[in-house]
């Protein structure tokens, strides 16, 4: 566990991604302090461009875009986290159960997973959200959480199957370890990077999907989030009247959190599969070699 953490932080991409994500977390936690204005109050004239008083301008309703963005960060992160947790827990339980028990259990679970994988997901989510009617962010988290576990389950199962044939698993089974111990103590730690990958990926997916659902007008307009900001901007035709800041602010917020999270995931991927690494390690090796050469030259000169 600690080994995984240190190699995670040593990976430059992962550390950079983590820094971005932590920045968002800080913004979400400190929202009341840094927002400056009430996000839903009319604080200025409509569609003011960015200025010293209103860093990111104002909306058509004369609301402060920066305040909305800061409060929206809270919603997006919470929804991403909750849905990500549900997706990961579901996927991991289903994947490991299928891999460990095999036989009929595996057949049934694997069949379920494959069926869910071939369904058109976004249209289905849209329809579910539409039938539930102006859903709150929590309902969105729940819908996404309960419908998006299939990919994670499939990957976890595949990795679990390869683990199952390892000698040490065979050995612990012969020692008569109970199933729960085999799963929790022997298998789970070795699936950590896949679970982590799945978790971060699900958060990205959730944040994007939530924003998309709300942008399309299927979320509750009373909730402050990046998606509803985009929806309001779109319905007040901000882009056509040239109020680009009202659209750009939530767009960039989504892009940067997405980039931050994917960098983290890229790092996880590189740790579990070192061959995928780009310059980082190779560059480090070259640098080390150069330093060694220089040191030797110095020695030779003396």
């Amino acid at each position: 566990m600690t080994g995984f953490l240190t190699s995670f932080l040593r990976n430059r991409k992962a550390a950079f991604g983590l820094a971005i994500v932590l920045l968002y977390v800080m913004i979400a936690l400190l929202a009341p302090v840094i927002a400056g204005y009430e996000p839903l109050a009319r604080v200025a004239r409509p569609h003011q461009p960015p200025s010293w008083d209103h860093w990111l301008g104002t909306t058509r309703m004369g609301r402060d875009v920066f305040a909305q963005l800061v409060w929206g960060t809270r919603t997006s992160l919470m929804v991403g986290l909750v849905a990500g947790l549900i997706v990961t827990i579901n996927g991991t339980i289903i994947g490991i159960t299928a891999a460990y028990f095999g036989g009929v259990v595996d057949e049934v679970l694997n069949f379920m997973t494959n069926v869910v994988l071939v369904l058109p997901q976004l249209p289905l989510l849209l329809v579910l959200a539409a039938f539930l009617g102006q859903v709150s962010p929590w309902s969105i988290a729940l819908i996404i959480g309960l419908t998006s576990w299939a990919w994670g389950a499939r990957v976890t199962r595949a990795q679990g199957l390869t683990l199952k044939t390892r000698d040490y698993i065979e050995a612990s089974r012969m020692l008569g370890e109970p199933a729960w111990r085999m799963i929790l103590v022997e298998m789970l730690p070795n699936l950590l990077s896949i679970i982590c990958f799945n978790f971060i990926g699900s958060i990205i997916f959730t944040i994007i999907t939530q924003a998309t659902l709300e942008f399309l007008g299927l979320g509750s307009p009373l909730n402050l989030s990046w998606g509803t900001m985009l929806y309001n901007a779109q319905t007040s035709s901000a882009i056509t009247v040239g109020a680009w800041w009202e659209v750009a602010a939530p767009c960039l917020a989504i892009v940067f959190i997405g980039v931050g999270l994917s960098l983290m995931n890229f790092g996880v991927d590189e740790i579990s599969n070192p061959r995928l690494r780009t310059l980082g390690t190779i560059g480090k090796a070259l640098k080390l070699q150069r330093e060694l050469d220089r040191a030797r030259l110095k020695e030779a000169a003396q």
């Binding site: 249209p123 924003a211 989504i254 310059l279 560059g283």
Partner: protein, 325 residues
């Protein structure tokens, strides 16, 4: 052959499961769906048609299993009832009008993003850790996590509003007559540029990363070293030995993205007001047009399953191991 039959059986069962979900969703939702549905039609539907609609849609007081039977039958007769939003057109007609536009968009975008992404992925893997890879891989990664609506709004703002060089929406200039005239085809092409560009940008990153990672795996394999040792040219080793095997997962991704493309093209079509099936589903959802939504979901599922089955067939050609089994 055995393999294909097994897959076919799986898709049949998957389709029945999807169809059942599709049947259950509106019936499980709170409130009476017919009332919600017809309240959105604001009096454009005469009372006798209301009753008929209720009947065709199956919302009469029949036991659930009979409704289900009728519903399953409607799939095979390809009769999804009458659309409410586009009353009195049948759902099938409405869908058939929109389908060619989506096929145009998604077809072009898939072709572009798959070929560009795969070629760049091969390049990035071949020059792993060098300049090209250092730029391409993080860029692809970043593009992958940017939602379609952000790309769509950006291209819309840059090319259609900031600089008015391309149209803001719709599939062609409505003042032109539809037909095989130069003007009309040119109009269709210029209207397709921005949505196709958006979709291609959204999907290229995924193909690039998939191809790069698989290609790197392949480059470490013995048969590739063997090819190098034989003194074959770089290009031959790259394309005929490594890329050919690395392509398999990309082909899977291609099929799976068909479903994502329907979803992704939905947002893009909405932003550009493009008259494809995605936009249609959106309009149907806004109008709570249940027959249209149900018909559409079924067709999307069918498209998804067909794409997957096509991949299975392609695999038989691409992977010799499956031919023996």
């Amino acid at each position: 052959m055995n393999f294909l039959l097994k897959r076919l059986a799986f898709y049949l069962v998957a389709f029945v499961v999807a169809a059942t979900f599709n049947f259950m969703i509106p019936r499980m939702m709170p409130g009476d769906p017919t009332d919600i549905m017809l309240s959105h039609a604001d009096g454009t539907i005469p009372p006798e048609a209301r009753e008929a609609l209720k009947a065709t849609f199956g919302f009469i007081d029949e036991p659930l299993h009979i409704q289900y039977g009728n519903y399953l039958a409607s799939i095979f007769t390809w009769d999804f009832g009458t659309s409410i939003k586009f009353y009195p057109l049948p759902v099938t007609d409405v869908l058939l009008m929109a389908l060619p536009w989506t096929l145009l968009l998604t077809g072009s975008a898939l072709a572009i993003s798959f070929s560009v992404g795969t070629l760049l992925g091969i390049l990035a893997a071949w020059r792993r850790g060098q300049g090209v890879d250092m730029v391409l891989s993080p860029l692809a990664l970043a593009m992958q996590s940017i939602p379609a609506m952000v790309v769509a709004l950006t291209t819309l703002y840059i090319f259609a509003i900031g600089n008015q060089i391309l149209p803001t929406g719709y599939a062609y200039d409505p003042s032109l007559d539809r037909g095989f005239t130069v003007d009309f085809i040119a109009s269709v092409a210029t209207h397709a540029i921005l949505p196709v560009l958006t979709l291609s940008l959204v999907f290229t990153g995924g193909y690039l990363v998939t191809m790069r990672n698989n290609m790197i795996g392949q480059l470490g394999e013995d048969h590739v070293h063997m090819a190098e040792a034989k003194g074959l040219s770089d290009a031959r080793v790259r394309y005929a030995y490594a890329a050919r095997n690395a392509l398999l997962p990309s082909v899977t991704a291609l099929a799976l993205s068909f479903g994502a493309l329907f979803g992704g093209s939905l947002v893009t079509e909405v932003v550009f007001n493009y008259p494809g099936v995605g936009n249609l589903l959106y309009l149907g959802i806004l109008a709570r047009d249940f027959p249209l939504i149900q018909g559409q979901l079924l067709i999307m599922t069918l498209a998804m399953l067909t794409a997957n089955f096509t991949v299975d067939i392609a695999y038989i050609f691409l992977d010799p191991r499956l031919r023996k089994a």
